[in-house]
C-alpha cells in the first residue's frame, strides 16, 4: 500500500492512499483503503494514510480516530497517532499523518514501514525500521 499526506502553505490538508490489497486475498475483498475514515482521512486538523492489514484498520477506524482524538481530546498529532497505533494488536499496521501546523507523525506496530517525510523547516527523513 502506498500513500501520501500533505499540508500546503495555505494550511489545506489532504490524504491519498492506493493499494493492491493483500497477497492471496479472495476476489471481491474490500480492504481499508477505499473506506473513508478507516485507512484514509483528512479534515481541518490533520490528514492520515494507513497501511497494513486492512481488516484491522477497518475495525479500529484508525484514520478517523487520529483526527477524533485531536478534535475531542485536544491531543497533539503525535500523541493521537501513537495512541491509535498502540491500540491495535502488534504487527498489523502503520500510518503517516500531518497536522495543519505542519507536525508529522509516522508510527507503526509492524517490524518496519517504508516511509519518508519533509517539512518547510528543512527536516527530512527516509526510513524503514523504527531506529532509522
Amino acid at each position: 500500500t502506498v500513500g501520501c499526506v500533505a499540508v500546503d502553505a495555505s494550511r489545506n490538508l489532504a490524504s491519498a492512499t492506493s493499494t493492491g490489497g493483500m497477497v492471496n486475498k479472495m476476489a471481491g475483498r474490500i480492504g481499508d483503503t477505499p473506506v473513508i475514515g478507516a485507512g484514509t482521512y483528512a479534515n481541518a486538523l490533520c490528514a492520515v494514510s494507513a497501511t497494513g492489514k486492512g481488516e484491522a484498520i477497518i475495525r479500529h477506524t484508525v484514520a478517523r480516530d487520529v483526527a477524533a482524538l485531536m478534535e475531542h481530546q485536544g491531543l497533539t498529532l503525535r500523541d493521537a497517532a501513537e495512541h491509535v497505533v498502540a491500540g491495535v494488536p502488534r504487527g498489523n499496521f502503520g500510518l503517516v499523518a500531518v497536522s495543519v501546523s505542519g507536525e508529522i507523525s509516522m508510527p507503526h506496530n509492524t517490524t518496519g514501514m517504508f516511509r519518508a517525510c519533509a517539512t518547510e523547516g528543512g527536516y527530512s527523513e527516509v526510513g524503514i525500521w523504527p531506529d532509522d
Partner: protein
C-alpha cells in the same frame, strides 16, 4: 510551520536482512517521490494536487503494492483500490476492484470531483474510467513475476499476506486471524 509532507510504501514484517537489491530501489523511489512532492509544494500546488501527484508516482513503481506491482488475488488477478480526501472541503472519492486503470488514485479523484458519490467499485468503476477517458491497459500490465511467485508461496502456506510479510511454511492454526485477514 508551513508545508509538510509524509508518504509510505507499505508496512509489514520487513526483515533487517532485506538485501540491498530489494531495499535500495524502494528507498530511491521514496526519495524521488518525496522530492517531487516537496517541489510541488514549494511551487504553490495545493495539498490535494500534491498527494495525487505523489501517489501516482508510487503507483507507477513496480516495487510497491499499488498500480503496477499490485499483489494478486487467489485467482491470480489484480483488484486495485484507492481513495483521496480533501480536508478543507471534506470531499472524498474512492474506487475498488479496478483492474485496468493505470492510476487508480486519479480515478478516485474524478469520483470526488465529477460525481455526486464517494465510492465506485468493480464494473461501475471501470465503466466510469472509460467515460472519463482515463488511461487503461490490459490487466497483465500490473502483474510482476515477483508477485506471481509471492502468490504461489502464499497458496502453499495457505496464508493471506500483508505487504512484505514473509510466507510461512505449513498450515496455520485454526485460530490464526491472519488466515482470513
Amino acid at each position: 510551520m508551513g508545508w509538510a509532507i509524509a508518504l509510505h510504501g507499505g508496512a509489514g514484517d520487513i526483515p533487517r536482512s532485506l538485501p540491498p537489491e530489494r531495499r535500495e530501489p524502494r528507498l530511491a523511489t521514496l526519495r524521488r517521490c518525496l522530492d517531487l512532492g516537496v517541489a510541488a509544494l514549494q511551487a504553490g500546488r495545493t495539498a490535494l494536487d500534491v498527494v495525487e501527484l505523489v501517489v501516482r508516482e508510487l503507483e507507477n513503481c513496480p516495487h510497491f503494492n499499488a498500480g503496477r506491482g499490485s499483489v494478486l488475488t487467489t485467482d491470480g488477478t489484480v483488484e486495485m483500490e484507492a481513495s483521496i480526501m480533501d480536508g478543507t472541503t471534506m470531499g472524498c472519492g474512492a474506487v475498488s476492484g479496478v483492474s485496468t486503470v493505470v492510476n487508480a488514485i486519479s480515478l478516485a479523484r474524478l469520483v470526488m470531483d465529477k460525481t455526486p458519490h464517494i465510492y465506485l467499485a468493480f464494473q461501475g468503476a471501470e465503466a466510469f474510467a472509460r467515460d472519463q477517458g482515463v488511461e487503461t491497459v490490459d490487466p497483465s500490465h500490473f502483474i510482476t513475476e515477483e508477485n506471481i511467485d509471492r502468490l504461489r508461496q502464499a497458496k502453499q502456506a495457505n496464508r493471506v499476506q500483508i505487504d512484505y510479510t514473509q510466507p510461512m511454511e505449513g498450515q496455520p492454526p485454526k485460530d490464526d486471524n491472519s488466515r482470513t485477514g
